[in-house]
């Protein structure tokens, strides 16, 4: 039987992990971050390096793989990894402090630097990483609907979704405007002053156009009953994948174990 339009606009995910309700996924994100912090306080080796968070990052990678979103996640993780790498290198090789551990010629690695390097870079990798998993397995439409479900005012949801959409629209417009300006002789290569000057003729028309459009859009929204009081209908609804319960229990169990384990180590 032909699907109705309402059915067609729903999102169905085959993968149980990727298809988890966003609220469950968010719980995982929070608990994972808590565990990361707890694990980072475990000092190993005689200089007290927080090595535990390094293998913990594998959990993010495993989640991404099992959710079937490995490619997307790796792509997004590249940016995060770059920042983590920069921090790692800067802290290890450049920042002084504490005992010198290794020396090759004029490059030195200091104790404090190495500690901070591992701690900061892997904290970032882990936490940003779990957020990457969340966002790469959840579409914007689902995030918006989840926010609404949990009580966010429909006007706020509008602002959220509209922002995402506006970025695409204005991004496209800016390319058009910049090409048009280039054709009129605005230089975009050269010294910094020249490049800075090219900024204005692109951005000013862009902002102006968007502003005037907004004025009219208020009328459009009014004409669609935006300021109506009363309960709204939602054609798009979130589906549960069925694995919510299992996931929640697993996540909570793991967190509890880690916290207890850490407390135990501390006491011994």
């Amino acid at each position: 039987m032909e699907k109705s339009y309402t059915e067609k606009i729903q999102i169905h995910k085959a993968n149980k992990l990727a298809g988890l309700h966003p609220a469950t996924k968010f719980l995982v994100v929070i608990l994972y971050s808590v565990c990361t912090f707890v694990l980072s306080s475990i000092k190993l080796t005689k200089i007290g390096l927080p090595l535990a968070i390094i293998p913990w990052f594998l959990v993010v990678l495993v989640l991404c793989a099992v959710s079937g979103a490995m490619k997307k996640c790796i792509k997004a993780l590249k940016a995060v990894a770059f920042i983590a790498l920069v921090i790692f290198l800067v802290q290890t090789f450049i920042v002084p402090g504490g005992e010198v551990l290794v020396r090759f010629g004029f490059i030195r690695i200091c104790e404090k630097g190495l500690k901070t390097a591992i701690s900061l870079s892997f904290l970032i990798l882990n936490i940003a990483g779990i957020f990457v998993w969340f966002f790469q397995t959840t579409e914007n439409k689902e995030i918006a609907r989840a926010l609404e479900e949990s009580g966010l005012n429909y006007k706020a949801t509008y602002v959220f979704i509209s922002s995402l959409q506006m970025i695409n629209v204005l991004s496209g417009n800016s390319k058009t405007i910049m090409n048009a300006q280039r054709a009129r002789g605005v230089e975009t290569e050269g010294n910094m002053l020249v490049r800075a000057k090219a900024f204005f003729p692109t951005l000013v028309p862009l902002v102006l156009g968007a502003l005037i459009g907004s004025e009219e859009r208020v009328l459009t929204l009014e004409a669609r009953g935006f300021s109506m009081e009363g309960k709204k209908t939602h054609l798009f609804n979130l589906e549960k994948s069925g694995a919510e319960g299992t996931m929640k229990i697993t996540a909570i169990l793991v967190t509890v174990l880690i916290v207890i384990g850490r407390a135990a180590l501390w006491i011994l």
């Binding site: 669609r224 009953g225 709204k232 209908t233």
Partner: protein, 285 residues
């Protein structure tokens, strides 16, 4: 007479302007009639639309004297639900998409969602309206990927689906190509057949001649005439008031001046053919 909207002694000025955009307007609009609004740019036509829809002064600010009534009640006593009583469509197709829906189907449903119409009913209503406005083939496309004419049809659909009795349409085709214009006008024709009350502002006088029952003429903020279409569009004195008249009307008058007796001054092509053929037959007898 079933008066659905009324303006009583309305004078309105936009903020920071000294000259009123509309002066001393007294107007009664009957349910089910098609009103065409013509006049030069800046004569107050768009202001009229804003007043009738309640956007002036609530959104535009400015000063209003007199009253605008919808079904006997002052229009500012209505809240957001006025969208179900009066539909509003204007020139720019691009600013009439909500910006938050990915498909045309959802875009058209948006108004119904806001009104809290049950989900089961929404689909049927939307499909019916999409058929009527000839956009069913676009149902799963993104509103951002449409042509101007298509967007304008979606805008019309999104408003019609709320089933308002009154529709205010302000120059819907001024930014469209001829094909887009035609598609919009066939929708307006369907609306007329459904006996909606329509207030249409247009420069394309031949189209007003085709569909309107009565015509309002504006000049410099004042309504200088409000009569049946036939009377206004065949009256060449309006040419001096900055109004364009249908070419067939001008032709008709000129023929009359040269001695060809016409039974009536035509305002549409069809009428012109009938009336001139009749006159020629008479002559050849």
């Amino acid at each position: 007479m079933d008066i659905v909207m009324e303006c009583k002694d309305v004078t309105y000025s936009y903020p920071l302007t000294k000259k009123p955009a509309i002066k001393n307007l007294n107007l009664k609009l009957e349910r089910g009639k098609f009103y065409g609004v013509i006049g030069e740019n800046g004569s107050g036509k768009t202001t009229l639309c804003a007043l009738l829809r309640g956007f002036a002064p609530s959104f535009y600010k400015g000063e209003l004297q007199g009253e605008v009534l919808l079904e006997g009640k002052n229009i500012n006593e209505y809240g957001g639900e006025i969208a179900a009583k009066i539909g509003f469509v204007f020139q720019n197709p691009f600013t009439q998409i909500s910006g938050i829906k990915d498909t045309v189907f959802e875009e058209v449903s948006y108004g119904l969602e806001n009104f809290g119409v049950p989900a089961e009913k929404i689909e049927k209503r939307v499909i019916d309206v999409m058929k009527m406005t000839n956009i069913e083939t676009l149902a799963e496309k993104s509103p951002f990927e449409l042509s101007g004419g298509q967007m304008q049809r979606v805008a019309l659909a999104s408003v019609i689906v709320l089933e308002p009795d009154i529709l205010i349409i302000d120059e819907p085709t001024s930014q469209l190509d001829p094909e887009g214009t035609e598609s919009v006008f066939s929708i307006i024709e369907t609306l007329k057949e459904k006996k909606k009350t329509i207030i249409l502002v247009e420069h394309k006088i031949d189209l007003i001649a085709e569909y309107a029952d009565e015509v309002l003429v504006f000049k410099e903020g004042t309504m200088i005439a409000f009569r049946r279409k036939q009377e206004i569009l065949s009256d060449l004195s309006f040419l001096e008031q900055g109004v364009t008249l249908p070419q067939v009307a001008i032709l008709g008058r000129k023929l009359q001046e040269r001695g060809l007796g016409l039974s009536a001054i035509p305002v549409t092509e069809k009428q012109a053919v009938e009336v001139i053929a009749e006159a020629l037959q008479e002559r050849n007898k």
